[in-house]
């Protein structure tokens, strides 16, 4: 729907434990709470931070989202994903 809605979802996933728990348990159900279109929800579900930044989402949020939710929580992996995605 909008970059703003993506930022709300990523902000919640960065700072709210209950959001992270819900996302980990059922990403689809969790993301349905937000006004996201299918591509945006897929980008979050797939940790496609390059695609999110291409949509002008704040890098502060994409990094926080990755570091608090990605199974590896590796900054190097995060940067590799960004660079592979052309950011």
């Amino acid at each position: 729907m909008s970059t703003d809605a993506v930022e709300v979802a990523l902000y919640d996933l960065g700072v709210k434990r209950e959001a992270r728990t819900g996302f980990a348990a059922d990403p689809g159900a969790f993301l349905a709470r937000y006004a996201l279109d299918a591509e945006e929800a897929a980008a979050i579900r797939n940790f496609d931070v390059a695609a999110l930044q291409a949509r002008k989402v704040s890098p502060l949020l994409t990094m926080g989202f990755w570091m608090m939710n990605h199974p590896g929580r590796s900054r190097n992996d995060y940067l590799a994903q960004l660079r592979a995605g052309g950011q």
Binding site: G14, V15, S58, L60, M63, L82
Partner: protein, 277 residues
């Protein structure tokens, strides 16, 4: 009457705490020494309150509410992030002075947002914990946040003017208070961007030179696009340094230290701003 007795610009480098100090190599030891220098100078200035101007990193304020500039007037805790050996409990605030700055500003064209209960992040919490509070003279740390990390951003010139509003409020304060102002921000850094880890030393030294000469004009001339291009999204935090400069207009300063290395998130610049005689 309150007086601003000194100012500093410094980074809020989280990497400071990842290695125990007694195991620090030369680079880390030099950065610790720079923070120690600021701490000791605050003590030598016999500061009673320290105002720390920081940037939210999109963890305190969400997309639903993004203040242009905010002052903590009540309970303060933090930093939000856990660092080895760094307390996260109460940071004593000078509530009376903070409230005065808010009221004075609102009466003079600066519509402060306020927080009555604020958990600060590392941009305020780090200098509060390691530079301000170790001094027995310091009884309060007043947190100020600018929209300097998350869009929509406070205009650079407005950040400087806000510093002037802080200075005017301190000068109009009834009680004797010796105030130090700290502008807390890394210089070049690409936070969460593909270039994360890069630095731009010429840009960093240009900014520090402006601080030392007391000349904000070259910084006013930069567009946000130019800053992001040359110094990353983290470079937008130089607004915090500019705000500290605005609190001490016509003051010159001296460089304390500059470091950049792959270990550091940002170009790390430390300088003191001397109170005009």
């Amino acid at each position: 009457m309150g007086t601003i007795v000194g100012g500093f610009v410094l980074p809020h480098e989280p990497g400071l705490f990842f290695t125990a100090r007694d195991e620090a190599g030369p680079g880390l030891a030099e950065v610790h020494a720079a923070y120690d220098r600021v701490r000791d100078r605050i003590g030598e200035l016999r500061a009673t309150s320290v105002i720390v101007i920081g940037a939210d990193h999109y963890v305190l304020f969400g997309p639903q509410c993004l203040p242009n500039f905010l002052i903590g007037v009540g309970d303060v805790t933090g930093p939000y992030e856990r660092f080895p050996g760094v307390a996260q409990d109460e940071i004593p605030n000078n509530r009376d002075l903070a409230g005065h700055i808010l009221r004075h500003g609102r009466a003079n064209g600066f519509d402060w947002a306020a927080s009555k209960s604020l958990r600060v992040d590392h941009s305020v919490g780090l200098p509060a914990r390691i530079c301000a509070l170790p001094n027995s003279t310091v009884t309060g740390v007043i947190p100020v946040y600018l929209a300097s990390g998350v869009e929509p951003l406070i205009p650079m010139r407005r950040a400087y003017e806000l510093g002037g509003a802080i200075q005017a409020a301190v000068a109009a304060y009834d009680a004797d208070e010796r105030v130090v102002v700290i502008g807390s921000g890394g210089i070049s850094h690409w936070v969460g961007m593909a270039r994360m880890g890069d630095h731009n030393e010429p840009f960093d030294r240009m900014v520090l030179d402006c601080v030392v000469r007391g000349d904000p004009e070259p910084l006013f001339a930069l567009t946000d696009e130019e800053i992001v291009d040359q110094a990353g999204n983290g470079g937008l935090e130089i607004r915090n340094l500019v705000c500290a400069m605005g609190a001490m207009p016509a003051s010159t300063g001296s460089l304390i230290a500059y470091h950049n290395a792959p270990d550091w998130v940002a170009g790390l610049g430390f300088a003191e701003i001397h109170a005009a005689a």
